[in-house]
Amino acid sequence: MTSHGDDALSSRTGAPGGDDRLSEDRSLLQQRLAVRELLDTEVSYLHVLQLCASDIRSRLQQLPQGDLDVLFSNIDDIIKVNSRLLHDLQETASREEEQVQLIGNTFLEFQEELEQVYKVYCASYEQALLLVETYRKEPELQREIQGIIEAVLPQAGPSGLSFLLVIPLQRITKYPLLLQKILENTLPDASAYAVLQRATSALQDVVTNINEYKRRKEVASKYTKVEPLSLRERLARINTHTLSKKTTRLSQLLKQEAGLVPRTEDKEFDDLEEKFHWVSLCVTELKSNVAAYLDNLEAFLRFRPQDYNLEIPGGPVVQYCYLARDLQLQAFPEFKQQLEAQVWQPLCSLAKALAGPQNLIKKRLDKLLDFERVEEKLLEVGSMTYEEEAARHTYQALNSLLVAELPQFNQLAMRWLSQILCAFVTLQRDLAKQVLQRAEDSLAQLPHHHLSEPAFRKLVEDALGQTSHQLRAFQENFEKVLPPPTTQPLLPGAERQVQALLSRYGPGKLYQVTSNISGAGTLDLTLPRGHIVALLQNKDTKGNSSRWLVDTGGHRGYVPAGKLEVYHVVPTEEELRGQARPHKDSQHQTPEPTSAPVPSVPTVTQVVAVYPFVARSSHEVSLQAGQWVTVLEAHDKKGNPEWSLVEVNGQRGYVPSSFLARAPSPAPWGWSLPS
């Protein structure tokens, strides 16, 4: 290439009027030099990159891998792209005529890739610098790093690491300048010019885009996070600056609401925001519904009916217990676990991811109000402060960021949501399969497994009907109350009294005293338990129905109704009784004559004398307690039942009837003591 230039120079001295050609030649020379510079610098740039990526990075052992990733970012990708770029550029060297044009074309081809690969590096550069700062604070570490770098690249100088890390940034911004230099020295009418021009502006765009990208990232990271602030912290943040910002925004909003100021309508953004809003709603609703489902599942698994023991050794009951235990220990817990891992966790992550965009949207609105006010001011005044300029830029950055990325977000979120729902469905199917397998095994061992479902249901219905009857029978059996034992037996002599009352009043009116009654007033009776009375009136003169008027057979008076129980006459040798005469209170023991005629029924029975009796006249006979006597007549000559004619010890005489008791006599009927 230089030979041309030499030729040009040598020809210069020769021809007069060669000024135009002189400058042309000079341009050409410059062009050549510029091209040379481009290629040479590219070679050394790549060389340095490779040293960094391999030698230096591998020797920085003491730094954690995470740090190295941040420091060197995607340097490997850059090396790849730039290697290919260099290769293509070097190829152009062989085609002298068209070299410049080819260079232009090459850069146009690589434009996209360069942007992609360098924007990543640039975005993480800030963070890398922070790391370098932290290293600098540790002298020991700093010395080591410096040592390594100096060993490999002594030209890095004292600021070693930061010097190296900024190199890619410098390079990418250099390209437009290098191309510009070539362009300046190219004839405008050359075919290469247009291409080169396009390439130069293309690379300029690359740089602009990278800056824009970086700015968006910064803005995003500033506003996506919502720090959980306590009230105190929030209050502390309020200062005049923030207050004035907020009041300004509020007034702007109010002006918009009132229609005083046109609102910036951005349909495109509004649609995007709406869709995002629906996506958020979908995610949050689904998340809470799945949470409820999992809670219910947990509650369901808490109940273990199979744990109760009916002491039934075999058959369907045991089958069921095995099945239920199996399901509860294996199938269901597995299902729950999978649900949590494949449905719940992803939903949580997705829900968390919503926070970033939500904050940005909110911030954008705030900034929009600022922006609108600034626009207004610009119209009125024609200028704006630095702060206002910054606010304008922030809004624009936020807006463009959201417009660029919200559609992607929506789409990705929807795709993920669909996958999660599919997972849910698949898990349900798998659970069903698991349960079905086990249940069908159990079914095969049941007695009626061959029956169709409707047939079986009928069978069960019938069986349950039958057993229901059986149970009712059991219940009735247990409820059967056997008749209570007969009420207290009577006092001696009372049987006759009962007969007297019975014949006088009838069976329905007889009552037995259930517990001792002590009379208080003059008309109240004192009666022992077991005594039989006949009811005269079931209330007293004052109308008190708990005080009844009764006849004891000798006395009349009042007794508490609660101590009386209906007396069912127990027939005991009734045929012996026939007396209807009312019987005086058995306390009286002296015989009293009565006027009423009494049919006497001749009775001959064995009785036991209960009390001793001393005969006071020749008509009477003495008794000893416990002595067996034969009753010849149960009344005296006048028919008085209070006296009985008995025979005892060969003697005959009268004794008080109440001194005699009926005892189960071992002697057959008609037996009498030998006289």
Binding site: T224, K225, C282, L286, Y293, A299, F300, F303, R304, Y308, L310, E311, I312, G315, P316, Q319, Y320, L323, A341, Q342, S349, L350, K352, A353, L401, F409, M414, W416, Q419, L421, C422, V425, T426, R429, D430, A432, K433, L436, A439, L443, L446, P447, E453, F456, R457, V460, L464, Q470, F478, E479, V481, T486, P489, L491, P528, S586, V608, V610, G626, P664
Partner: protein
Amino acid sequence: MSWIPFKIGQPKKQIVPKTVERDFEREYGKLQQLEEQTKRLQKDMRKSTDADLAMSKSAVKISLDLLSNPLCEQDQDFLNMVTALDTAMKRMDAFNQEKVNQIQKTVIEPLKKFGSVFPSLNMAVKRREQALQDYRRLQAKVEKYEEKEKTGPVLAKLHQAREELRPVRDDFEAKNKQLLDEMPRFYNSRLDYFQPSFESLIRAQVVYYSEMHKIFGDLTQQLDQPGCPDEQRERENEARLSELRALSIVADD
């Protein structure tokens, strides 16, 4: 003449043989155990079916809420998926209700009926106990009189006491015999009684889960998402998350 108040003592004679008493205790004990278990089983079964219904209802809510989201109007594919899901959920809920009804009819109701016999049994046992107490008391009384000197009044009282004792003893014997006969029969009836219920319970599960398998199987086919193993799904989820995180607007945490 008023009764002389009489102290209730214990009879000397062992009126109920030890073996009989032991048998009674054993049989009654088994039944008390059974009562407890059936009561708790019934309660647990009911709570379990309630929880089952709740679960099904919350599944239906999932698809219902999805269906009401405006996204369905915009995105046809989403709408199709959600509609299919909703149909499936509703059908499953219907089958679940049927399953629960069947369980209610063939397991819970019978358990309740079985349990309702126990109060009557317990009352009968109480009455026997009461009769036994009376029997003991009167027996002691008779024995007391039998030991005393045989005077007239004593004999009279003895006679009295014997008269009282007889019906009470007969009553107790009758009650005792009845229970000793009926209790084992009732206890054994549980074997035949519960087998149909539990058979029905198993069958109800089979019916339900067959439907569930079919419905969700069809749905997975329809959604055109092959079932993939757990690890693959995990990787998928990781991938989706990284995609989102790659966006600047998504906060890193």
